[in-house]
Symmetry: C2
Subunit: 313 residues, 2 copies
Amino acid sequence: MNGTLLEAADGAVADGDAPFEAWMDSRCARVEQALRACLPAATTAPGRLHEAMAYATLGGGKRVRPLLAYGAGELVGAPRAAVDAVACAVELIHAYSLVHDDLPCMDDDVLRRGRPTVHVAYGEATAMLVGDALQALAFQALAGAARSIDDPARIGTMVERLAHAAGSLGMAGGQAIDLESVGAMLTRPELERMHRMKTGAMLRASVMLGVLCGPPSSPAGLESLERYAASIGLAFQVVDDVLDVASDTATLGKTAGKDSEQNKPTYVSVLGLEGARRHAAELLGTAHAALEGFGPAARRLRELADLIVARTT
Amino acid sequence: MNGTLLEAADGAVADGDAPFEAWMDSRCARVEQALRACLPAATTAPGRLHEAMAYATLGGGKRVRPLLAYGAGELVGAPRAAVDAVACAVELIHAYSLVHDDLPCMDDDVLRRGRPTVHVAYGEATAMLVGDALQALAFQALAGAARSIDDPARIGTMVERLAHAAGSLGMAGGQAIDLESVGAMLTRPELERMHRMKTGAMLRASVMLGVLCGPPSSPAGLESLERYAASIGLAFQVVDDVLDVASDTATLGKTAGKDSEQNKPTYVSVLGLEGARRHAAELLGTAHAALEGFGPAARRLRELADLIVARTT
């Protein structure tokens, strides 16, 4: 293709040769558009709630979860509209979790993505309802994928996967363990289990839901992708812990140094700064190894793994 | 059948002739069992979160939403296991909403079903996560119905319906309007819209998700059932407002008189006590009229409508 953009059969732009930055910009624009289409307008009652839902969701964030969904969906040749629905769903779950995590009864944070957190801007009661409504909207968006996947019966499996990743055995459960661990010394396996749930489960779901939009994959292929997803899921958290220590608030767009201040166990407190950096590099190696059988089609997933480990915010 | 209980093909007990009380007891036991099966054990980490999720969900409540799902599912001959999944899902959404509504930043209530509310018993952060995890579990339970309905592709429609009823255009949105209305004078249409969202949407979804578990219904049949569900949905709230004024805390198992104390608009404040009672009776009439074409098979839905209007708690 020599970098020329070609329209694919379903209207998607085939940009397999595009530089990673261009691919990312294009997919971030796509999920932004899909999120806008899925959020109710601020002119629809209750207007203040809808305005706050948009504030929590649009115009910011690294969109790591949607990008993973796109990378995985494109690897398996999934229909564009289905992957858009998955990208929306995983980002809406992420957005809701940030709104609730920032509340005074949780992390009590006032700054997120360089702006006041939702409860600072709209009040605590609205922030609670914003999170609740965004979670419902995530499942609504995901269910919409049924209209564009080849086997609509698979939507049950996809909803179960998202719910499991978001719930008490995934993200919400990891958050509960995190809260209980303040001031505690966790062993490395305990820390790893917490992060597999708290961050890893949703990053894995982002990859696997993208894959589930496509034609059936071989069990070996699915297993490799699960291994990839699990490795980058953990790597993401290890790097988060490193950045919390090694970066500053202005760069992060959220309050830096909070973990050690709150006496939370982190990879840095367990492994040391250099040990944590080395662990991230190992996980990156595992992720790349898991993709070996996929050839050039897995290019975006490789680039995303590199990005997750090399990021500075 | 002369009151004899017969085993139906799918193992369900055919108790169409049973007294209403016996039918209710049987279905409440069934949803209790289904909820127990679907909640993670308190021995599974995070144990405290799982214990609190069970505390919020089991052993109490009127189970109005599950009963509506059973009544509707049995009317259309839906598979038992699918209706169990729907019954679980709607009750889990209801349970999560109570936990979040009771939080200090919302209604700030300490008593629910005659026991301390979840945040009083387990702390605010855990209560927040309990609600978040129960919502995810509701969608997981609903998606499980795909394994027992005849057309598993319909699960997408069902998930969209539940998400819409729970989200910003349904329950969570009604709650937001409710918060904004404290101290305001709402007109009767405004009050009605708020309640159609806040309580009505989930009661309607309970009926219609039960119906969606069965074989395809005629458009006219679906429309009648929607009318039934909308009427009892509103009637439920009108009666709630009457009871808040006319009952006491010990009888209700929750704090009585809170609405007028918080200066919230209610059907009683808009229509007066007698006017509100009359309105409930009218809505009951509409509900019965909507069921006219269904004959004896709609017996349980008729009895549930009567119960909703005649209840004292």
